[in-house]
């Protein structure tokens, strides 16, 4: 693929490229950082980037948010055009994913508190050193 093909490709889908970059920042922090809280932050960035990715699948140009308008006016069932509303499904899925990521984050925080209570550090190399002494 030549350079001339790639540029329109990126322009049409630049949002997905941005989210992939964001995901990789998070993933890198999860793998390479030494501090457990930094790893947790990386985890959150990773999950949030996935949420952004999904939500942007739902976008449709020229459409508005998926709440049917004017339903109470005179009960006249004006035809609902699918093209007027954006795709609601990714929003539903991501509501679930947000909840899951919050729950995971809560449990991870509780574990971090527990580790800190015992070892008074959250640096992974120090923790490993302390554990190997035992």
């Amino acid at each position: 693929m030549g350079m001339t093909d790639i540029i329109p490709l990126i322009v049409a889908k630049y949002n997905y490229w941005l989210f992939v970059v964001l995901m990789m920042i998070g993933l890198y922090a999860m793998i390479a950082k030494n501090n457990l809280i930094k790893k947790l932050v990386g985890m959150n960035i990773f999950q949030t980037a996935i949420i952004l990715f999904y939500v942007s699948i739902g976008y449709k140009s020229g459409a508005t948010l998926p709440i049917i308008q004017n339903v109470h006016e005179g009960h006249g069932h004006a035809a609902i055009h699918a093209a007027d509303y954006i795709n609601p499904l990714p929003h539903v899925l991501m509501l679930t994913a947000i909840v899951v990521s919050v729950a995971t984050f809560g449990v991870a925080m509780a574990l971090a508190v527990k580790i800190y209570q015992r070892y008074h550090t959250l640096e992974e190399d120090e923790l490993r050193m302390r554990l190997s002494e035992k």
């Binding site: 390479a32 609902i80 699918a82 954006i86 609601p88 539903v92 909840v99």
Partner: protein, 273 residues
Amino acid sequence: MKFFGFVVVCLVGGLLLYGTADFPDWGDPDSPASTHLSDIYIEHAFEQTQVPNIVTAILADYRGFDTMFETAVIFCAGLACFLLLRDFKERKERFYRHVPTGVILHVKNSKKALRVGRDFEHIDKDWIPSDLIIKTVCRILIPFIQIYALYVVAHGDFSPGGGFQGGVIFGSSLILLAISYDLKILVRRIKEKVLGICAAAGVLVYVGIAAICMPMGKSFLDYSALEMFVFDPHHVRALGMLGVEIGVGIAVAAVMAIIYINIVSEGRHDEGL
């Protein structure tokens, strides 16, 4: 580890970007995602469920089964925090403040506890005199935040909102109370037992409403089985959704408070933040 991380990130990122080559353009109204199921939902959701907010209709009805487990995930997180952190041992040292004079007493022997009342009050180890402005503003705000939370839960069928959002707002009002006053006030007002029961009961409301549909002769979660319980059979699905959203709201609010209390006080429920 840094190099390893870099290599992994490059490989995964390259794979993900390679996959985007075949994506439909962003916002393309004719992409498969925007036409296949999406059109069915948009065109039929209102007539089938009488709920104008399609996101709510999918969340609590078409894919209500997902949402039920999502609530279970929340419940599970609260329980996990409790299980991991809760420490029932009381702190040996205690700090008291003599209210009329402002003298602070440090009692090291837990058996010689002072009676807390008009003369003495419990205080935290790192006690800072609380700010009158913050206290007053929060005292005024908290009821309004809570009313707003109820509005968000109840209005989830018609506007953005629903059980999760409302529950989180309600939970944050409790957290605001703990921040602006202190944790003891919150723990005294709302007992741990109440929070624990609410967390389980909220999910139980959801699963219960869903399960009642089975002996009524419909499949699990099919709200149309509940017609005989509601005054307005035309809106039975909307009312069923409202019911489960209330359950979700209760569970989420309780779990928010449980997670907050356990994490800031390291499981001792006495002081923190």
